[in-house]
């Protein structure tokens, strides 16, 4: 790479592509124990080109600050999980950097570590929240039927297409950081504080995101700070690229959740009360805990009408790597619990699961009927759910212990716009130049080419400018407005609408004002009624158990969705098919449990489902006419498919399948490579 001159900027496609003459490699010295007092770090003698850094060498703030928590850039005085960054080593030879890390002596006074989050005391409590409506105890007194269950979801890895990393290089007085991030301005602000410099002195240029499952919200800020520190200390371009195992073991995972729920119903199966206790394992540091606790509780109770609700949630600190978002902020975990509970309630009331949902589901906005009633006939026709469910139910009743081995499950969910920081506005800037070229600028760069094409075609349709003359500027924090995090389908749901609004404004000004014309639009997220403006989906999963080892063999998955304005049906269908296949893989493989802490075996035992193992997937999507704006659909499959799979497994086994992911053996829970009895 050459120094930047004039308007020429250098962008990087992937972090691993970073290469410059005289560059340094950065390695992270990690804690060998899960918890302890950090007494001393003794780096070996290194050559003059090698630099070792500790917390005390940080020139600015030593912690990344979030709304209710902090994350140390490098451990200072104590370590709270195995693999926590203690120091950085950088130098020109990657192998020598690795050797220096190996030879470094770290003296830690080890303390007892806690990995369990279902039993905890106040010292480990990070956040507590409760949600109360009506008088739940009265509901239980008058109940005809009560149902209870404990639904657990275990951690899972995002398994990014490339392990995470960051690169940093000085270009005269500016430090440019390259990292794959959903939130470039968060990286910039973090790096700026850690180095103690002005915001303008740091430029962040995100690299390709790939399928990230919302795992790149804040962690790239930490890696970006590490790379920036190394570049600052060595005055050379620096690349920090984690190995696959390092990324797997020490970066964020899906937050494990244990959800104990009790529901009371009347004789007709109508919900009278819900009482839930949700324990959330946030790991050692929990930057997103507040949002995760809120989302988790809301997702549990936002779909079914219930006059009395009590939900208590606890975010628990454990001595494990930080847990975070995974296809949403915890909604996936409690959607699974809610839909499993719905089936358990239907079974206890002797009502068909689809009918139970019709009785209890909240009507959408001012409509008398919920969107579920519109989806239902389409989904049932596609999947032949009614007939198959009746047949399998008969088989289940006739079967002896162990179940019939055949099951079909149903689940429904909505996807609302969720927010990490509600005050964070979304911004977009459009500029029509003198040569009639339209530039779109936002820091929420489209995650897919499909979204990019949609933005361009919408802009072209409104302004009449040829698609070839519409350009979406590459993201660089010095040239695009801060649009907040690329999260919860914001690219489609918020940014598309903003771009369309900005295009309308450009069209109005076009023949009235002199070129170039610049238009900025800002949108603040509003608190919405849960089911008022949201996409909906319902999924059906049909499976049978292998007669020999009783492994589930999924025959097919059907998913029907209703959303706002659909900008491209083909692209929406493809996106839902991909998400459905991914969500199904999360039910049947990708086992991970921190019951014994972090170890190498976990990595070796973790496997993604391969293409050849995927069943047939059928998707149908159409618009809800009242909703004129595009809405996000990126979480719908994750909210419905695992629960539908769980319901199908429950029918096939004739025993509750309450763990995500789980096994075909209902009496077992998932352990770390080995199974242990519940």
């Amino acid at each position: 790479m050459m120094p930047e001159t004039g308007s020429k900027k250098y962008y990087l496609r992937r972090v691993s592509d970073f290469h410059e003459d005289g560059m340094n490699w950065v390695g992270i010295l990690r804690s060998p124990v899960s918890k302890g007092k950090l007494l001393s770090v003794a780096f070996p003698k290194t050559g003059k080109n090698y630099i070792c850094l500790e917390s005390r060498d940080i020139p600015g703030e030593k912690k990344l600050v979030f709304s209710k928590s902090t994350v140390p850039v490098l451990a200072n005085g104590k370590v709270l999980y195995k693999g926590e960054a203690i120091g950085l080593v950088c130098g020109p030879d990657k192998n020598k950097v690795r050797d220096i890390i190996k030879e470094t002596k770290v003296d830690i006074e080890e303390e007892e570590a806690y990995f369990d989050f279902e039993c905890f005391d106040s010292r480990r409590l990070h956040l507590e929240s409760s949600l109360l409506k009506g008088v739940p105890d009265e509901g239980f007194i008058h109940a005809e039927n009560t149902v209870s269950g404990k639904y657990r979801s275990f951690p899972q890895d995002h398994y990014y297409p490339e392990p995470q990393g960051a690169a940093a290089r000085y270009d005269y007085d500016k430090l440019t950081v390259y990292t794959s991030t959903q939130w470039p301005f968060h990286v910039r602000d973090s790096v700026q504080k850690v180095l103690g410099v002005k915001k303008d002195d740091v430029i962040v240029r995100p690299t390709l995101l790939g399928p990230h499952l919302d795992g790149k919200l804040w962690y790239p800020s930490l890696l970006g700070s590490h790379a920036a520190l190394a570049a600052w200390a060595s005055a050379r371009p620096c690349l920090l690229l984690l190995g696959r195992e390092e990324d797997f073991l020490f970066t964020t995972k899906r937050t494990p959740v244990s959800c104990g729920v009790k529901a009371a119903m009347d004789t007709d199966g109508k919900l009278l009360a819900i009482d839930a206790r949700i324990a959330i394992n946030t790991g050692a540091y929990s930057p997103l805990a507040e949002s995760i606790v809120r989302e988790t509780a809301e997702s549990l109770v936002n779909l079914y009408e219930c006059p009395a609700i009590r939900v208590k949630s606890w975010a628990i600190r454990t001595d494990l790597p930080s847990m975070g978002s995974f296809a949403g902020l915890g909604g996936m975990n409690t959607s699974f619990a809610r839909e499993r509970l719905a089936d358990d309630c239907a079974l206890a009331s002797g009502i068909d699961p689809a009918e139970w949902r019709s009785i209890n589901i909240i009507p959408t906005g001012k409509r008398k009927l919920s969107i579920w009633e519109e989806i239902k006939p389409v989904l049932f026709e596609m999947s032949d759910y009614k007939r198959k469910h009746s047949a399998y139910e008969l088989m289940r009743k006739k079967s002896e212990s162990g179940g019939s081995g055949f099951g079909i499950g149903l689940a429904v969910s909505s996807q609302q716009a969720s927010s990490i920081s509600p005050s964070q506005p979304a911004r977009v800037e459009l500029e029509l130049s003198k040569d009639l070229k339209l530039a779109i600028r936002t820091s929420v760069f489209p995650a897919t080419i499909a979204t990019m094409e949609i933005w361009k075609s919408e802009a072209s349709a409104i302004t009449g400018i040829d698609i070839a003359d519409i350009h979406i500027d590459a993201v660089s924090t010095d040239s695009v407005p801060d649009s907040g995090p690329a999260f919860s389908s914001r690219g489609v749901s918020v940014m598309s609408q903003l771009i369309m609004d900005a295009c309308q404004a450009i069209s109005k000004k076009r023949f009235r004002e002199a070129l170039p014309i610049k238009v900025s639009k800002v949108s603040r997220e509003k608190a919405q009624e849960a089911s008022d403006i949201s996409s909906w989906a319902a999924a059906v999963v049909e499976l049978k158990l292998d007669p020999l080892d009783r492994r589930p063999i999924v025959k097919a998955v059907w998913l029907a969705a209703r959303t706002g304005k659909i900008l491209s049906v083909d692209k929406a269908v493809n996106s839902l098919r991909r998400d459905t296949s991914l969500a199904l893989g999360l039910c049947m493989s990708e086992f991970l449990d921190y019951v014994h802490g972090v170890d190498h075996e976990m990595f070796m035992a973790y496997h993604l489902q391969r293409l050849k193992d995927k069943p047939e997937i059928f998707v149908e999507i159409s618009e809800i006419p009242e909703f004129r704006q595009p809405l996000g659909i990126g979480e719908l499959a994750f909210f419905t498919v695992p629960a539908a799979f769980g319901n199908a497994m429950t029918q096939a086994l004739d025993a509750p399948w309450n763990n995500l992911p789980g096994t075909q053996f209902p009496e077992y829970n998932i352990g770390n490579g080995a199974l242990y009895k519940q």
Binding site: S16, D17, P161, P163, L208, N574, R577, L582, K612
Partner: protein, 184 residues
């Protein structure tokens, strides 16, 4: 030790360590950016190359073992009829890859197309020898397509789309993909 081999038609003479993996030599020393050193255990498929036209994960191949062999990477596949066929079919199917696994997916499918052309000159060695049916070189069945396309580990792939596009590419390239395997 010195190793001489052909890389995308270019003669390479390079000194390698006995334990050095081919993938590291290709990416770090010869600047082949399409190779990703991801898992380094042979299961992610992101470092696949064609060695004498047979697809192999290059992280499992010691660099000294490729002496006098011909290596084709994604860079060498570009602008070939095989690449054009795959691109066309992927575009028709609306497949959008993530930017990380693209090269590996193309190489995996290209290995099947090369087999159709009989370039391998071998009996049926399927993708790294993981699956062998003992059939003739040109006889590519459904299962083989599935196995080959499943050899790349990535969350961005849409299962139905990519398999259908692969079958179409094979059909287009000169083989009737409708024929099923005889002895799976």
């Amino acid at each position: 030790m010195n190793t001489v081999f052909s890389l995308n038609g270019r003669k390479i003479d390079i000194s390698v360590d006995p334990g050095e993996a081919l993938s590291l030599v290709l990416r770090n020393r010869l600047g082949i950016k399409s190779i990703l050193n991801d898992c380094r255990m042979g299961f992610c498929g992101k470092c696949v190359v064609l060695i004498d036209n047979v697809a192999m994960p290059s992280c499992l191949v010691p660099a000294f073992k490729i002496r006098n062999r011909s290596i084709i990477t994604y860079e060498g596949l570009l602008n070939t009829p095989e690449h054009k066929t795959i691109s066309r079919e992927f575009m028709k199917a609306g497949i959008e890859l993530c930017g990380f696994c693209d090269a590996a997916i193309y190489m995996a499918l290209a290995s099947l197309l090369y087999k159709i052309r009989g370039k391998t000159g071998r009996e049926d060695t399927v993708f790294g020898g993981a699956f062998s049916t003992g059939r003739k070189t040109h006889d590519i069945g459904e299962r083989e397509v599935m196995e080959t396309m499943s050899s790349v580990y990535c969350r961005c792939n849409t299962p139905g789309l990519i398999i259908d596009a692969a079958k179409n590419a094979i059909r287009e390239y000169g083989y009737s993909g409708r024929r099923h395997e005889r002895n799976p």
